[in-house]
C-alpha cells in the first residue's frame, strides 16, 4: 500500500514525520517495504496483511498511528445538500442477490462539469503515485485511499432503461472493461455483475465498463457505493485475470456499515469540484444493516496468554484508542466493534489488539527455559545415521524437486501402480510426484556431466509416491543411490559395500545383508534384491540402457529404509577377541560364469568343516589363461580353534574335502 506522509498527517492533530510513521506502523504490523522522497512529501510503501483491509487507506493508517502515539484522529465527514428531485425520478435499482451484495447504494448528481481536480486532491494522488484524470475519477480514487471504500461513477445518460440491476452474469454475455488496452470478455455466468436494463455495466467490485464510463462530456452521474462478498469478488477477479484497487479492497472485506459515510464524502467532493445538484434520497438495495458486534475479553485471560502484566485500565485505554468503545465490569471488557474492524469476533482477537498496542519489543525475555529432555526418535536417528554413513563413504547428498515429468517417471513406477500427479495447469510440464529418487539423481548426474564434473557418487533421502493397484495412495521414504563405475571388474561390489554400511546404520553392526539376483527391472539390469535381516528393502544393480543410455553403466540402488526406522538399534554386547592365531588357506577355482559367489560360500558352509571360521572373497579374474565363459574365483578360508593354536595338519583334511566338493558340485578346476 503506497501512502503519502502528508496525506496521513491530514487526519492527525499532530503531524508525524515519515520515519515516525514507518516506526509506528511497523510496530502495528505494517512494515515499511519501500520509501521515495518527493518534493515536500514522502511516498512510503507499507506491507499489508490480508485481515486488515481497513488499513489500506490513509485514515486507516492514521488511526493506527494515533492509537500508538496518543494523537487524535480526525475522520472527514461529507454532508452534501440534496436539493434535486427525488432520486427515483432518475433511475431505479434492483438488487437480486443480496447474499452476494449485502448493500448497494446509488446517488444521482445532475448538471456537473467535468474538469481537472483541485490541487489538494490531485497533489495527494500524485504523492501516492497515481495519475490525476478528472474531478470525477479522482474523487472516487481519493475516497478509496482516504476511507478504504471503493466506489464507482456511471454516466447516467448511458444506462439503458435508467436502471441498475445487481445480478449474476448470464452465460455468454459480453463485457468491455474500462481501460486503454482492454478487450471484450465473455462471461460464464458465475460472475456477479452490475447491469443496466440490457447488459452488464460493471464486474461487481472489480472493474467498471467502458460503455457507461464517465467522459469529459458527462453531465449527469450515478454514484455507486456498495459492498460485495469477498469470495465472489476474488472469484471474478481470478477468473478473468483482472485485478484492481477495488478488488484488492473488497477481497479483504468492506462492512455495509461504512458504505453511506463514504458515499456522502464522495458526493461532497464531486459537488465541491464539479458542481451539480444532488438528487434527494438514495437508491438502496440489500439486507438490513447488521448491529455492531460486541465482543468480550477477560482481562486476566489476556494477561495469562501473553504472560505480561498489563492492568485492566491500560487494556481499556488501548482498546479505546482503536475505537472499540470498551466498558469494563468485573474483570471483563465488553468492546463494541467499529464497522471497519470486520476481523474482530472473538476474545483472542481483542487480546491480539492488546498485544499490538503493547508491542512485542516490550515482551520480556526469560534467560532460562524450562525443558523436559526429549528423546531422539528412532526415525530421526536412523535418517541422520544413514546420511552420516554415506557422506563418510564419499557420497554427495542432493536435494531435488519432488515433481518430475511423466517421461522421467515412467520407468520407475512399480508394476501395476499408477503415478500421482498435480493438476496439469500448475505443473509446468512436470506433474508427476516422483515414484523413485533415481530419475532425479540421473538428472543431477547428467547436469554435472554437462558441466564437466565426473566421478560422482550421489544420494538423496526423500519421499516417493504412487497409487497402488488396489487404489491405496502410498507415500514412502526412499534412499536413492547413484555411483559412477570406477573399476569395471569390481562389478557390483562398490555399491554393495555402501549398502552394507547403510544396513549397519539402520539395523546395527550385526545386520545381515543379503543380495540375491532377481529378474531385471525396467531400470536395472542386472538387478538384485537387497534384504536386511530377511526383510526386503529394495534393489541395486546397473542402470539399464533404457534409462541411462551410453553412460558406462552407472550403479544405482533404491532402498526403502522405513521398516528399520521405527525402533532403536538393538543393544550391542561386546565380543571377546580370539586368543589364538588363525590358519588361512587361499584357493583359486576356475568355474563357469553362472556359478555365483553365494553358491561357493554355501558349499563351504555346508561342509561344516571343523574350526572353519570364515570364507573371504579375494578376487575374480577373467582373461588370459581362463577359458571364455569361465572365471577364476579366489577365496581365503580361515580356521581357528577357541582353545589352542591349530596345526596345519588339522586344516589339510577339511581343505581337501572342500576342493573335492567344489569339483563335484560346480565342476571347479583348482588353479595353481
Amino acid at each position: 500500500m503506497y501512502a503519502s506522509e502528508a496525506w496521513i498527517n491530514d487526519y492527525l492533530d499532530r503531524p508525524a514525520d515519515a520515519d515516525e510513521q514507518a516506526d509506528l506502523l511497523t510496530h502495528a504490523g505494517f512494515p515499511l517495504e519501500g520509501r521515495e522522497d518527493l518534493p515536500g512529501d514522502v511516498r512510503q510503501d507499507f506491507e499489508m496483511t490480508s485481515n486488515r483491509g481497513d488499513c489500506t487507506c490513509h485514515v486507516g493508517l492514521a488511526r493506527e498511528i494515533a492509537a500508538l502515539s496518543n494523537r487524535t484522529l480526525f475522520v472527514p465527514v461529507g454532508s452534501p445538500q440534496a436539493n434535486g428531485p427525488e432520486v427515483d425520478t432518475f433511475a431505479s435499482l434492483d438488487n437480486e442477490v443480496p447474499q452476494h451484495c449485502p448493500l448497494y447504494t446509488g446517488r444521482v448528481i445532475t448538471d456537473i462539469t467535468v474538469g481537472p481536480s483541485p490541487s489538494h486532491i490531485s497533489e495527494r494522488l500524485i504523492a501516492r503515485g497515481d495519475i490525476p484524470r478528472s474531478n470525477l475519477v479522482d474523487a472516487t480514487n481519493f475516497v478509496l485511499f482516504e476511507l478504504g471504500q471503493p466506489t464507482h461513477v456511471f454516466d447516467l445518460d448511458t444506462l439503458a432503461g435508467n436502471k441498475i440491476v445487481v445480478r449474476m452474469a448470464r452465460k455468454g454475455e459480453k463485457f468491455l472493461p474500462i481501460g486503454e488496452d482492454a478487450t471484450e470478455i465473455e462471461l460464464n455466468g458465475t460472475e456477479l455483475v452490475i447491469a443496466d436494463a440490457e447488459k452488464p455495466i460493471a464486474l461487481a467490485g472489480v472493474k467498471g465498463g467502458a460503455l457507461t464510463a464517465v467522459t469529459d462530456a458527462t453531465k449527469n452521474i450515478l454514484v455507486e457505493a456498495a459492498t460485495f462478498d469477498p469470495v465472489m469478488v476474488r472469484h471474478t477477479s481470478r477468473l478473468h485475470n483482472i485485478s484492481s484497487d477495488s478488488s484488492f479492497r473488497f477481497e479483504r472485506g468492506v462492512s455495509p456499515g461504512q458504505v453511506n459515510e463514504a458515499a456522502e464524502r464522495l458526493c461532497q467532493l464531486i459537488i465541491d469540484s464539479a458542481g451539480g445538484t444532488l438528487a434527494t434520497g438514495v437508491l438502496t438495495g440489500g439486507e438490513n444493516l447488521p448491529a455492531r458486534a460486541a465482543v468480550t475479553m477477560r482481562t486476566a485471560r489476556c494477561r495469562d496468554l501473553l504472560g505480561i502484566n498489563i492492568d485492566d485500565g491500560t487494556q481499556v485505554e488501548m482498546l479505546e484508542g482503536l475505537g472499540f468503545e470498551p466498558s469494563l465490569s468485573g474483570g471483563v471488557i465488553t468492546a463494541t466493534v467499529p464497522w471497519h474492524r470486520g476481523d474482530i469476533h472473538r476474545e483472542v482477537d481483542l487480546i491480539e489488539e492488546i498485544m499490538r498496542m503493547h508491542g512485542f519489543a516490550a515482551v520480556p525475555v526469560r534467560e532460562t527455559l524450562t525443558i523436559a529432555p526429549a528423546a531422539d526418535p528412532p526415525d530421526h536417528r536412523a535418517a541422520e545415521a544413514m546420511i552420516a554413513a554415506l557422506v563418510s563413504d564419499g557420497f554427495i547428498e542432493t536435494v531435488t524437486h519432488t515433481l518430475i515429468s511423466e517421461q522421467d517417471a515412467a520407468a520407475f513406477l512399480p508394476s501395476g501402480c499408477s503415478s500421482r500427479q498435480v493438476h496439469e495447469t500448475r505443473a509446468a510440464g512436470e506433474p508427476v510426484l516422483r515414484p523413485s529418487i533415481i530419475p532425479s539423481l540421473l538428472r543431477v548426474r547428467r547436469h554435472n556431466a554437462d558441466q564437466g564434473v565426473d566421478d560422482l557418487s550421489l544420494f538423496e533421502l526423500g519421499s516417493t509416491f504412487h497409487r497402488a493397484a488396489d487404489g491405496t495412495d502410498v507415500e514412502s521414504l526412499e534412499l536413492g543411490l547413484l555411483m559412477d563405475v570406477r573399476i569395471a571388474s569390481d562389478g557390483i561390489r562398490p555399491l554393495r559395500g555402501i549398502v552394507d554400511h547403510v544396513a549397519r546404520a539402520l539395523a546395527g553392526v550385526d545386520a545381515a545383508v543379503t543380495v540375491e539376483p532377481c529378474a531385471d527391472l525396467s531400470w536395472l539390469a542386472p538387478a538384485a534384491a537387497v534384504s536386511i535381516n530377511d526383510v526386503c528393502v529394495g534393489h541395486i544393480g546397473r542402470l539399464n540402457e533404457a534409462v541411462a543410455p551410453g553412460d558406462g553403466g552407472w550403479l544405482a540402488g533404491a532402498i526403502r529404509p522405513e521398516a528399520f526406522m521405527q525402533t532403536d538399534l538393538p543393544e550391542r554386547e561386546a565380543h571377546r577377541l580370539p586368543e589364538h592365531p588363525a590358519i588361512e588357506r587361499d584357493l583359486s577355482l576356475i568355474v563357469p560364469e553362472s556359478i555365483t559367489w553365494a553358491q561357493l560360500v554355501a558349499i563351504a558352509d555346508g561342509l561344516d568343516m571343523p574350526h572353519h571360521e570364515a570364507t573371504e572373497f579375494v578376487t575374480v579374474y577373467r582373461g588370459k589363461g581362463i577359458p571364455d565363459g569361465q572365471k577364476s574365483v579366489s577365496m581365503r578360508l580361515r580356521f581357528r580353534a577357541a582353545d589352542r593354536t591349530l596345526t596345519h595338519e588339522e586344516v589339510d583334511g577339511p581343505i581337501e574335502s572342500l576342493i573335492a566338493a567344489f569339483r563335484a558340485e560346480v565342476g571347479a578346476e583348482i588353479r595353481g
Binding site: 496483511t49 505480561i308 515482551v363 526469560r366 527455559l369 525443558i371 547428498e397 558441466q451
Partner: protein, 326 residues
C-alpha cells in the same frame, strides 16, 4: 666387584654406539641382553659375592640392566626414525580424502533441529501429500480463504494436496498425542511459483509447536531469541512484529538484523504466534486449559543469508562444485 660393573656398563654402551647397522645392533642385543648374554653371566656370579655385599650388588646389577635396556630402546627408536623408503617432498598437495558432502539445505535443517532439540523439542515428521483437512480446515483456514485457491496450491488429480506449509505436522501430532507436546518438524513444502533467484516452487520449513498449561507469549519470544542466539550468535538482534496467520493469534513475523553487503538490514526469519483456540478446539483440546505457541522458519532463506547464496536455484541444481563448498 662393583667398580667392575661400572666399567662393564661403559664398555657395553660404547659397543652399542659403535653398532653400525640393524644387524650389528641385533648382535649387540644378543651379546648383552640375550638369554645367554653377558648380563646373565654376571648375574650368575652373585653366588661369589660376600653375603653382606649381595644387596648392593643386586641393586647395581638391576641398574646396569635397566641402563642397557633403555639405551637399546633409545638406539632402536632413533633408528626407526631414520630415513627409509623413497625420497619425500612434503610440500606436495594432499590427495582428496574422498569425503562426501551433506547438501547445504540438509545441513541447515540438521543444525536448526539440533538447536531446538537442545531446547527440549522432539524431532518429528509428517507426510508431504495431505488432505485439505490437515492443510487448511484444521488450521483454521475456512473454505472461502484465498490461501485455498487452486492457483496457489498443488492439488492432486484424484484428491489431496502437496502440503503448502509444515503446520500440517502440528495437527498430525496433536491428533495422536495429548498435550503437553513440544515438537520440531522439518520438511518440504510446495507452492506453485515461477522459478527465479528468490522463488522456487518447493522449499523447506522448520515447524515448532509447544502446547502445555500456561504457555505464553513470553515463552515464544524467549524460545525464538534463544534459537537466534544459538544459531547466529549472541550479538544478533531479533524483533517480532504483528502479522496475520489463520492458525495463530496473536501472530507475529520474526525478523533478524543482519549485515548484508555492508548494510544492516532486517531479514525475515519466519512466522509465529500463539496457537489459535480454533485449532485446539478442532482437535478437541480444551483451549482454556491448554495454550501453546507455534512457529515456522524458512530454511532456504536462513541458509542463503548465512552463506551469501544469491540465487535459490543454485540449491536445487545440485552442481557438485557448488555443493562441495559447504
Amino acid at each position: 666387584m662393583l667398580a667392575e660393573l661400572d666399567t662393564t656398563q661403559e664398555q657395553a654402551l660404547a659397543a652399542l654406539a659403535a653398532a653400525g647397522d640393524d644387524a650389528a645392533v641385533e648382535a649387540w642385543r644378543i651379546d648383552w641382553l640375550g638369554s645367554k648374554g653377558q648380563l646373565k653371566q654376571l648375574m650368575a656370579r652373585m653366588k661369589d659375592v660376600e653375603p653382606s655385599e649381595r644387596p648392593a650388588f643386586g641393586e647395581r646389577m638391576n641398574a646396569l640392566k635397566q641402563a642397557l635396556e633403555d639405551a637399546f630402546k633409545a638406539h632402536k627408536d632413533v633408528g626407526a626414525k631414520g630415513p627409509s623408503g623413497p625420497p619425500m617432498d612434503v610440500t606436495e598437495p594432499g590427495l582428496p580424502a574422498g569425503l562426501g558432502r551433506r547438501h547445504i539445505v540438509s545441513q541447515t535443517v540438521a543444525e536448526i533441529i539440533e538447536v531446538f532439540a537442545r531446547m527440549g523439542f522432539e524431532p518429528t515428521t509428517g507426510p508431504e501429500v495431505e488432505d485439505e483437512w490437515h492443510n487448511f480446515t484444521a488450521l483454521n483456514v475456512p473454505e472461502s480463504h484465498p490461501a485455498r485457491e487452486a492457483i496457489d496450491n498443488y492439488y492432486l488429480e484424484g484428491g489431496g494436496i502437496l502440503r503448502s506449509q509444515t503446520s500440517t505436522v502440528q495437527i498430525r501430532v496433536l491428533e495422536k498425542t495429548p498435550p503437553p507436546v513440544r515438537i520440531v518438524a522439518a520438511g518440504r513444502v510446495y507452492r506453485p511459483d515461477t522459478h527465479d533467484a528468490t522463488h522456487y516452487s518447493m522449499f523447506h520449513q522448520v515447524e515448532g509447536l509447544y502446547v502445555d498449561r500456561g504457555v505464553t507469549m513470553v515463552d515464544l519470544k524467549s524460545t525464538l531469541l534463544g534459537f537466534a542466539h544459538a544459531f547466529f550468535g549472541e550479538e544478533v538482534e531479533v524483533r517480532m512484529r504483528p502479522s496475520f496467520f489463520p492458525f495463530t493469534e496473536p501472530s507475529a513475523e520474526v525478523d533478524m538484523k543482519m549485515r548484508i553487503k555492508g548494510k544492516w538490514q532486517w531479514v525475515e526469519l519466519g512466522g509465529c504466534g500463539m496457537v489459535d483456540p480454533n485449532v485446539l478446539e478442532a482437535l478437541n483440546i480444551d483451549a482454556e486449559e491448554w495454550t501453546g505457541f507455534a512457529f515456522g522458519l524458512g530454511v532456504e532463506r536462513v541458509a542463503m543469508r548465512k552463506h551469501g547464496i544469491a540465487d535459490i536455484r543454485w540449491l536445487f541444481e545440485n552442481d557438485a562444485r557448488f555443493l562441495r563448498q559447504f
